[in-house]
């Protein structure tokens, strides 16, 4: 039996158990399955997957989870400790107990996909799948075939949501690995503003497969900050694509922060469809041992006077591997656009590896574009300079690694995320190095 057939059999069993669905959903599933069956899992001869081997997924046998039970104590420790509107999924299954939607501001809808479909499936049908077609990748096709749960967020025009919206995905250490194919749909109405955090975490022994597809639409002048904080267990397999579409004068800011997972692939695609649309891509990953993180980003400047700025950094230790592919596409009539891209990587070990590739395709002549990529080790002169002040080798390396990450983390305006990532990066520092104390002292002095 082929690798694909295992997944198709699981799908068929699920479809039979699920019973009747609205026609359009059944048709989408069918289209997703057909596409997946036709193309199969990507292999390394496909350019977009050249450096990322997905055999660990293809050869796996994953059940679908049927409960959202999760230890409340573990959940409490993993959950970001801030006041938030929260949707929680455990191995893809909605957990009412771990969600918090009691105080929804007016103009905001946040609900699990299953509820949205039940209440009014036609209202979802128009938007779902509009940006992420089954031909985007075999994983999008697979997601479309399986998708039955996820998050639907709608912001009415003019709605400003101060409280962050968290979509939390928890992964359990099950007896046998499970898979989930969540779907996120965000529609931000004109002049609306919000911060969304997609947070992945879980029990340390977990070895599950998450295959997420998100679609985000920003109407005229909408402002959306989108954080992805990926702290999945180091045995988890994680594939995600984020598809964004922006209207006139809208502003999208992405933070793609990856610390966990055994095999991670992120695709981000943003279509800047009208003048004045702006997007910021910030990325940071820190991987060790045999972790693998692949970030593929694409900005389509489909309209004149659009702006994109990308800054991605990677820190690799042990035998970890990283991939960065950043593509900027400027259409023929997209004049006076600005597109900047920067990628820097830090290799902490001789056996770590990074493959980085910027791609610029520019068909307009009046544009400002730049890109740069650097890869290096910690600066030995700087380490020596710190040691001459009495700071030991390990701490000197920790300080410099933190400083490298800081260039991306300085842009983060949510303290809870900045601290979480800073502490994760600083995790290798000796305990007596009281980072929190340093930061507090620094800010106290800054105020005086």
């Amino acid at each position: 039996m082929s690798d694909e057939q295992t997944f198709l059999d699981t799908l068929q069993a699920r479809n039979e158990a699920r019973g009747d669905e609205p026609t359009w959903i059944a048709a989408r599933r069918q289209a997703g399955a057909a596409r997946f069956e036709a193309v199969g899992f990507p292999h390394k001869r496909v350019e977009a997957w050249k450096y990322t081997d997905v055999r660990a997924i293809a050869r796996g046998e994953f059940r679908l989870a049927d409960s959202a039970d999760f230890s409340p104590a573990t959940a409490a420790a993993l959950t970001l400790p801030i006041e938030a509107l929260r949707l929680t999924f455990v191995d893809g299954v909605f957990s009412r107990a771990l969600s918090d939607l009691n105080t929804l501001p007016s103009g905001v809808t946040i609900e699990p996909l299953s509820h949205a479909l039940e209440a009014n499936h036609e209202a979802v049908g128009g938007a779902l799948g509009r940006l992420a077609g089954v031909d985007f990748s075999p994983f999008t096709a697979l997601n479309t075939a399986f998708a039955e749960e996820g998050a639907v967020i709608r912001l009415a025009p003019g709605t400003v949501v101060e409280t962050p919206i968290i979509i939390q995905f928890l992964s359990r250490a099950n007896e046998a690995p499970v898979m989930s194919h969540p779907r996120v749909l965000i529609e931000a109405g004109g002049r609306s503003e919000a911060t969304v955090i997609e947070h992945h975490a879980g029990e340390s022994g977990a070895t599950n497969f998450t295959n997420l597809v998100s679609e985000v639409m920003l109407d005229r002048s909408a402002i959306l900050s989108y954080y992805k904080l990926q702290e999945a267990p180091v045995g988890d397999l994680h594939i995600a694509s984020l598809h964004v579409e922006q209207g006139r004068d809208s502003r999208f800011t992405s933070f793609n922060l990856n610390l966990g997972g055994a095999l991670v692939r992120n695709d981000i695609i943003d279509d800047l469809n009208a003048e004045g649309a702006e997007t910021q891509y910030n990325g940071l990953f820190f991987v060790r041992d045999r972790q693998h993180v692949d970030n593929h980003t694409l900005v389509n400047h489909n309209a004149p006077r659009t702006y994109s700025n990308e800054n991605y950094k990677g820190i690799l230790d042990g035998r970890a591997r990283g991939v960065f592919n950043g593509k900027v596409m400027v259409k023929r009539d997209s004049q006076q656009i600005e597109a900047y891209q920067n990628n820097a990587n830090l290799l902490l070990s001789d056996r770590a590896e990074i493959d980085t590739k910027p791609e610029l395709e520019i068909y307009a002549d009046d544009v400002k574009c730049s890109h740069g990529a650097t890869t290096g080790q910690l600066d030995e002169d700087a380490i020596y300079a710190l040691r001459t002040r009495g700071i030991d080798n390990q701490m000197a390396r920790g300080l410099l690694t933190l400083a490298f990450a800081g260039e991306v983390m300085d842009q983060v305006t949510l303290d809870v995320i900045a601290e979480r990532v800073e502490l994760a990066v600083a995790g290798k520092l000796p305990e007596r190095f009281n980072l929190t104390g340093l930061v507090e002292t620094a800010s106290a002095l800054g105020e005086k």
Binding site: R389, N434, G446
Partner: protein, 250 residues
């Protein structure tokens, strides 16, 4: 306090220091002068533990400890601190992080607790004022984008905060204008203490007008060719180094 005996040091196979002897006692300020290429910077680099210098024979003892057996950071923790001729830029590491981490490393080596935050802030503010530096310096990355003068002030600031047992200053006066020279000299003078030693390595006599040395050594061709008091510095300024070399080889 510091005892250098018959020190021979090679860099990439060629001998730079050729039997250097130096004794510095607590409370003294010594200046080492000499022409370019005499081995002045090699001496301070070897004492602070920089890689790439091969000690072929001789010894360095600091307060009874064999310096050459100590790690770079152990030397600093023991109070042997070097101020650089070319301070290194450390992007992303704030000055305040460096100062606090360094001070706590030193305290930990002595078996002391970490410095409480209010005490640390008070100390740092006082030293900043002494060096005529704005508190915003603390939030900036170490030496990043600093002018030459700012970098040198920052080296002295570190000395004032870390309070070394022996402060070594390698060409601290290079690249300083008159005003910065005064501030740096005042900083060095405030380090003068009966308990502490100061070793100034310099090419010019200029700094020594502001910081009076107790002892002046002339380093020529890898050896101390002559030792005297501060008058020797003036003599070198007017006569150059040639005569010392002739005298020592005669």
């Amino acid at each position: 306090m510091l005892e250098v005996k018959d020190l021979h040091v090679s860099v990439e196979g060629s001998e730079i220091l050729k039997g250097l002897n130096l004794t510095l006692k607590q409370g003294e300020v010594h200046a080492i002068m000499g022409p370019n290429g005499a081995g002045k910077s090699t001496l301070s680099a070897v004492i602070s533990g920089k890689e790439g210098y091969e000690v072929t024979s001789g010894s360095i003892t600091f307060e009874g400890r064999d310096v050459l057996e100590m790690e770079v950071e152990e030397r600093a923790q023991a109070g042997l601190l070097l101020g650089f001729q070319y301070p290194v830029e450390i992007p992303g590491v704030k000055n305040i992080y460096l100062l606090k981490a360094a001070l706590n490393a030193q305290r930990a080596a002595r078996g002391e607790e970490e410095i409480p935050a209010p005490e640390f802030m008070k100390l740092v503010k006082e030293k900043l004022a002494a060096m005529k530096m704005d508190p915003s310096f603390l939030q900036r990355a170490v030496n990043e984008g600093f002018s030459g003068g700012e970098k040198k002030r920052n080296e002295i600031l570190q000395m004032l905060v870390l309070q070394p047992r022996l402060a070594m200053l390698d060409e601290i006066d290079s690249g300083l204008d008159i005003d910065a020279m005064r501030v740096v000299a005042d900083g060095i003078n405030s380090l003068r203490d009966p308990e502490r030693g100061v070793l100034i390595v310099t090419h010019y006599q200029r700094l020594l007008e502001h910081v009076e040395p107790d002892v002046v050594h002339v380093l020529v061709d890898g050896r101390i060719a002559k030792t005297g008091d501060k008058q020797l510095a003036y003599e070198l300024e007017s006569r150059g180094y040639e005569w010392v070399l002739e005298e020592s080889t005669a």
